[in-house]
């Protein structure tokens, strides 16, 4: 459903990567590997439509995905390496903003990352691992076909990685695709690897 053809990304006058092609099928998973600075985050931003590709095409169901970036955004969730939380809002308030945009149950999403008990705590009181889990809870709000994850397990304990595994498995079982950049082992059985 997602196909990249000869994608290239430039920063200044230096190519970060070029001639990158891959396909992603429903239920599929692709792990982005590579050294620091290899362009994993840039590729995810490009796929999310946040930066335009210098060359190449990104196709969604055979159509140019980036022609309508608002429509493209509606079919994906992007988890950046930042958690995008407002420190003064509670965990539930942080999440309910996105629930208003996308639909979905805040309580259920919080439960899926094991944060139900901390729902009324301001986000500034959460530990870095808990903040990461709150960011991950956005994935559990409403189903979309494509997840783009940038180092999703940074700061997570073993139990939280297991919960993320359950979220990923449910997403893929429902026909969703995952693209994840990582340095740590991820609970993505059968994922193909793409080394940048």
């Amino acid at each position: 459903m997602l196909e990249a053809r000869d994608l290239a990304c430039w920063r200044g006058d230096r190519a970060i990567f070029a001639g990158l092609s891959f396909t992603l099928e429903p239920g599929g998973a692709l792990l982005l590997l590579g050294a620091n600075g290899a362009g994993k985050s840039s590729l995810l931003r490009l796929l999310a439509g946040l930066i335009p590709p210098a060359e190449g095409l990104l196709l969604w169901q055979g159509q140019d995905a980036l022609a309508d970036r608002v429509a493209h955004a509606a079919r994906l969730r992007y988890l950046s390496h930042q958690d995008a939380l407002k420190p003064s809002l509670t965990a539930a308030e942080n999440l309910s903003f996105y629930a208003r945009l996308w639909g979905g149950e805040v309580a259920a999403a919080l439960a899926s990352v094991g944060l139900s008990e901390l729902a009324e705590l301001p986000a500034r009181m959460l530990s870095s691992g808990q903040k990461r889990r709150l960011a991950l809870a956005r994935l559990a709000l409403a189903p979309v076909p494509l997840w783009l994850l940038d180092e999703p397990t940074v700061g997570l304990d073993a139990a939280s990685v297991e919960r993320l595994g359950a979220l990923l498995a449910a997403h893929r079982a429902a026909g969703g695709a995952v693209l994840a950049a990582t340095h740590l082992p991820l609970p993505l059985p059968g994922a193909r690897e793409l080394v940048l």
């Binding site: 439509g49 955004a73 992007y78 958690d83 939380l85 407002k86 945009l101």
Partner: protein, 219 residues
């Protein structure tokens, strides 16, 4: 519309959690207006003469204060990326941000206007028009300011660049706003000037969010 309301609601909730930010703009406005009597001397006629322009200039400068954090704070914590891939059109996002800025900064200035007007010896019968004119002028500034904040986002000296970009665009708002207050103080109808100011607002309302949206998208 759901997305617009969600962003606006979040803006207001964040402002309520940090009331000091709104209060700082109001205090700035009142203090700048209080400086004029000290600088010019307490001559009532001269003060009343400069009051319309001083009110407008102080109000716009105060409303400018929180603008560089409008998108800056969102960009720093990664929220801006989330907002841009939320499926919300960027222009709609910018429109909600502009309205949020006006409600959080412009509206409290209106409440403080009588205090500032009294210090500048503006005749009481012109206070109503002063509030109206300042409300419309800060609305124009919120709109142009949102576009400016989106354009200067990521610039190295964005905080300095922003006023240089936005204040020249606000000159018509100062001219018509001050003229309206002056007319009201002199007992002439202020309506034509207020209508011109409203026309300026009506012009900026669709254009500025579109420009801001394009700037956010191109970032």
């Amino acid at each position: 519309m759901r997305g617009f309301n969600a962003v606006l609601g979040r803006e207001l909730r964040l402002a309520l959690r940090h009331p000091a930010d709104s209060l700082a703009a109001v205090m700035f406005f009142v203090l700048v207006c209080a400086l004029f009597p000290f600088g010019i001397g307490p001559s009532p006629e001269i003060l009343a003469r400069i009051a319309p322009g001083a009110l407008l200039a102080a109000g716009l400068l105060a409303a400018l204060l929180p603008l560089d954090r409008l998108f800056g704070a969102e960009a720093e914590d990664g929220s801006l990326d989330q907002l841009l891939v939320s499926g919300l059109p960027p222009a709609l996002l910018a429109a909600a941000k502009a309205l949020g800025h006006w409600l959080v900064t412009g509206l409290p200035l209106l409440v403080a206007t009588p205090v500032a007007a009294a210090m500048l010896n503006l005749p009481v019968e012109a206070w109503g028009v002063a509030m109206l004119a300042l409300g419309l002028a800060t609305g124009v500034l919120s709109l142009f300011g949102t576009a400016g904040a989106a354009l200067t986002l990521g610039a190295r000296r964005g905080g300095v660049l922003l006023p240089l970009l936005v204040l020249p665009l606000s000159i018509p708002a100062v001219i018509f706003g001050a003229a309206a207050i002056e007319a009201a103080a002199g007992g002439i109808p202020a309506r034509p000037y207020l209508l011109l100011l409203a026309a300026l607002l009506a012009l900026a309302a669709p254009l500025a969010p579109l420009a801001a949206g394009a700037a956010l998208r191109g970032e």
